[in-house]
């Protein structure tokens, strides 16, 4: 095969068996790779009723067919599993160099099943793959684990691993790649549940393309265009996602309000963060360098360096928790990376707990005496340690936002702002709300992207259309715009390209500035793989992947009822609240119509599934004897069942 390497690496941890399985050409064509391949595997192999933290869950890691090629921004790894955080499909897309090295080692996907008796790590040296004892790594941070493995195998090795949080089954524990890149939705806890500590990969065999000369020429055009793009060159390459502080309305004190550019604390502006920056870094194959490398100048961890501090950390662990001290925020970022936790899940769960504390729903008795005052950074840092190690009140935080609310009861759920278990602040109806409400991994800003439909910036939107930075189809009607945006991000995740560092349409769809929508990407994929892709086939593939993900969630008990955005109790039931719900319901119906979902239930129709080549999925959904139990978060464990402890980072 060209583009793809033609091999899937299957690791059965229970039997300690490693199998190299050929990648079927039909599956490759239909699901492309990355997220598409992973979602297909999960639908086929993870049946309803599976405990996300049990041995029956499956963990998939996949680069895409364009990973490791000279098309820039393609070192992206998709990590997918049944999420122990949300109880539905959980995937995270992560940079670093792991995806490229895995591809060069010869694999299109790693599928991990079962559970090892004792801690193990996987060592992939091109064609040689071994499961090795990881007892010397267990209990160590992601940074220590990476250092030890790189010392053993060399600097040309990339490491994906978990820290103490993953070992202790913290439900928002992440897979950490190359120390600083985090794949969220709780995949880290799945590694921990399988007794898998790390995967180290060396890949040196490169990649073969069907028509390399032409591919290189076309990739070069896109690469050169890209680095000269204003957004990349002058904004992302300089400030990274920090720029979001000025335009993305971060939440403040658990979504009490959203901060405008003028309301951002002076110590947290993009310019202010420059003070701590000691360099910039990027992923393999990327000329943008969106990550800021920083050094903490003072305090407990003075002198410690960190690899990437994103907007999401500043927002979720900072402003939304009421914290405005940049030094504390840097310390929390490093703790999250070292323990291996997702800053969004961690930050918003703590913010939720703080909100409950101020409402008197939880007290010092619940927290074990730990203060949850908004501005108490020291207590929050202590709580982060306790969460990763599941000590005291941290054991409850480690359950994640939705389960925390359920366990506490006492009316806490009224304030649990989430979509399908993933935190999201209340927001008036509109496309932004619709995108979050329908995303196939719960509340999420990266499935249907906000920049892509201009709701937030009605002035810039027409200019983007006019200058060819957005395709004209986007302006047809709002739901069409959102659908196109969903297809773009689905395909980006499937080919192995980045959509996070870049924030422009041009990144999500290569060559969109040159050719009509999807044509440029179709050309690149055809040149790389030798299969003939065109715009229609790509749209169909994107819809196939997205609809299959929807079907996966339907089996987890998701219906129309769950495609709602949270409302604050003071808005719920009021005329304004009802008006918003009505508006949302109308948009949702239109969205279902466009997507071919049943208008009442939100389940993909047989007709639609058949059209996408998913007839067997329709059969399965229809012949299931009982209704699927309604989604109510991930299955809970008694708190004393979890492993806990470990050394403090």
């Amino acid at each position: 095969m060209y583009g793809w390497r033609g091999t899937i690496l299957r690791v059965d941890l229970t039997r300690e068996e490693i199998i190299k399985q050929p990648l079927s050409e039909a599956v490759a064509r239909d699901f492309i790779g990355g997220r598409g391949l992973n979602s297909k595997t999960l639908f086929d192999e993870v049946k309803p009723g599976t405990d996300p933290l049990g041995p029956g869950n499956v963990l998939c890691l996949a680069p895409g067919p364009l990973t490791g090629t000279p098309l820039s921004l393609t070192s992206r790894l998709e990590v997918s599993t049944l999420s122990p955080y949300s109880g539905i499909l959980g995937d995270g897309n992560v940079g670093g160099s792991f995806a490229t090295f895995l591809k060069w080692a010869g694999y299109d996907q790693i599928v991990i099943t079962g559970k090892a008796d004792t801690p193990k790590y996987l060592w992939i040296d091109n064609g040689n793959v071994e499961l090795k004892d990881a007892s010397h790594l267990w209990g160590k941070t992601t940074w220590e684990t990476t250092d030890i493995l790189q010392e053993m195998y060399g600097e040309d090795v990339s490491v994906a691993c978990i820290g103490q949080a993953g070992e202790n089954l913290v439900r928002f524990a992440s897979t950490i790649v190359d120390k600083y890149s985090s794949a969220a939705r709780g995949s880290g806890a799945v590694w921990g549940s399988k007794n898998l500590k790390a995967i180290a990969v060396r890949g040196t065999s490169g990649v073969e393309l069907a028509r390399p000369e032409e591919f290189l020429q076309l990739a070069q055009e896109d690469n050169s265009f890209f680095v000269r793009d204003h957004m990349q060159h002058n904004v992302i390459a300089v400030y990274g996602t920090h720029i979001g502080m000025m335009s993305w309305w971060p939440g403040y004190r658990y979504f009490e309000k959203y901060l405008s550019a003028e309301q951002i604390p002076p110590a947290l502006t993009p310019e202010a963060w420059k003070k701590y920056e000691i360099g910039r870094a990027g992923c393999y194959d990327c000329p943008v360098r969106c990550k800021n490398v920083f050094r903490i100048p003072a305090g407990r961890r003075a002198g410690e360096e960190g690899g990437a501090l994103e907007f999401e950390c500043i927002m979720c662990l900072g402003t939304n928790c009421g914290i405005q001290d940049p030094i504390a925020i840097m310390e929390m970022e490093n703790l999250a990376d070292a323990y291996g936790m997702d800053v969004i899940g961690l930050g918003n769960t703590i913010a939720f707990a703080k909100d409950l504390y101020h409402r008197g729903i939880i007290t010092d008795k619940d927290t074990g005496g730990l203060s949850l005052d908004w501005e108490d950074a020291d207590s929050q840092i202590e709580l982060i340690h306790r969460t990763a190690l599941r000590e005291g009140f941290g054991n409850l935080i480690a359950e994640g936002l939705y389960s925390l609310g359920k366990i506490i009861g006492r009316g806490a759920m009224d304030y649990c702002y989430h979509v399908k278990g993933l935190s999201r602040g209340p927001h008036p109806a509109g496309l932004f709300a619709l995108a979050h409400a329908t995303s196939t991994r719960g509340a999420d800003h990266l499935r249907g992207r906000s920049w892509a439909y201009g709701e937030n910036d009605p002035e810039i939107f027409p200019i983007l259309i006019e200058t060819g930075m957005l395709p004209p189809q986007m302006s047809q009607d709002p739901v069409t715009g959102l659908t196109i945006s969903e297809r773009a991000t689905t395909l980006t995740d499937a080919i192995g390209r980045c959509k996070g560092a870049v924030n422009s349409w041009a990144a999500a769809v290569p060559l969109v500035w040159k050719y009509p929508l999807w044509d440029g990407l179709a050309k690149l994929l055809s040149l790389a793989t030798g299969f003939e892709f065109d715009a229609a086939k790509l749209e169909e593939a994107a819809d196939r992947i997205y609809t299959l993900e929807r079907a996966f969630n339907v089996r987890q008990g998701v219906t129309r009822k769950h495609d709602w955005l949270p409302q604050k109790p003071e808005v719920k039931g009021t005329p304004q609240g009802e008006e918003e719900r009505k508006e949302h319901a109308e948009m949702l119906t239109e969205y279902y119509r466009v997507h071919g979902y049943d208008l009442k239930t939100g389940i993909p129709t047989r007709e639609r599934l058949k059209l996408l080549g998913l007839k067997s999925v329709a059969d399965e959904l229809e012949t299931h004897p009982d209704p699927y139990p309604e989604w109510d978060g991930p299955p809970l464990w008694p708190l004393e069942r979890y492993p806990h402890g470990g050394r403090r980072a």
């Binding site: 490791g68 090629t69 000279p70 820039s72 060069w104 040196t204 065999s205 490169g206 990649v207 073969e208 393309l209 390399p212 290189l216 070069q220 690469n223 050169s224 890209f226 680095v227 390459a237 000691i278 360099g279 910039r280 870094a281 990027g282 393999y284 194959d285 990327c286 000329p287 943008v288 360098r289 490398v293 360096e305 690899g307």
Partner: protein, 164 residues
Amino acid sequence: MQPKMLLVDVGRCTGCRICELACSWAHEGVFNPLKSRISVITWRKEGIDIPMVCQQCDTPLCQDTCPTAAIFRDGKTGALVVEENRCIGCRMCIVACPFGGFSIHTERHVAIKCDLCEGEPACVKYCPMGAIEYVPVDKVGLAKKRAGAKRLSELLSLVTKGVS
């Protein structure tokens, strides 16, 4: 004709390594950095990336050290080129070169190095940042002086404006 050289602008390089893929493609027909003649060395914490490649020295230690006289200078480009059927893979050139200009081919086990692509270097063509230039050797000194002077003038204008 004056020989030309690869001039790397370290300030512009972002470490994306597309030059490595372009180079391995141009020489080996594959996209594989192990087979590239140019390699980007990264100091992550400092945020510095430096592409390292043969400097085509006027007094090449590699050529002096080679026991089989497999390294000769190309008349057209002035590049030092390895004649593979004479190379015995002894790696003395790797030992001798102060810049890491050589590596060993993973399958053919002969020394490989930059040959300036017969005057059209692939790394220059495909670098998205324009961080590698192919410029006449006699112009390099003056061009660098000019760039240095520009920086100095900017600094001086700040001083005269009383900024620093």
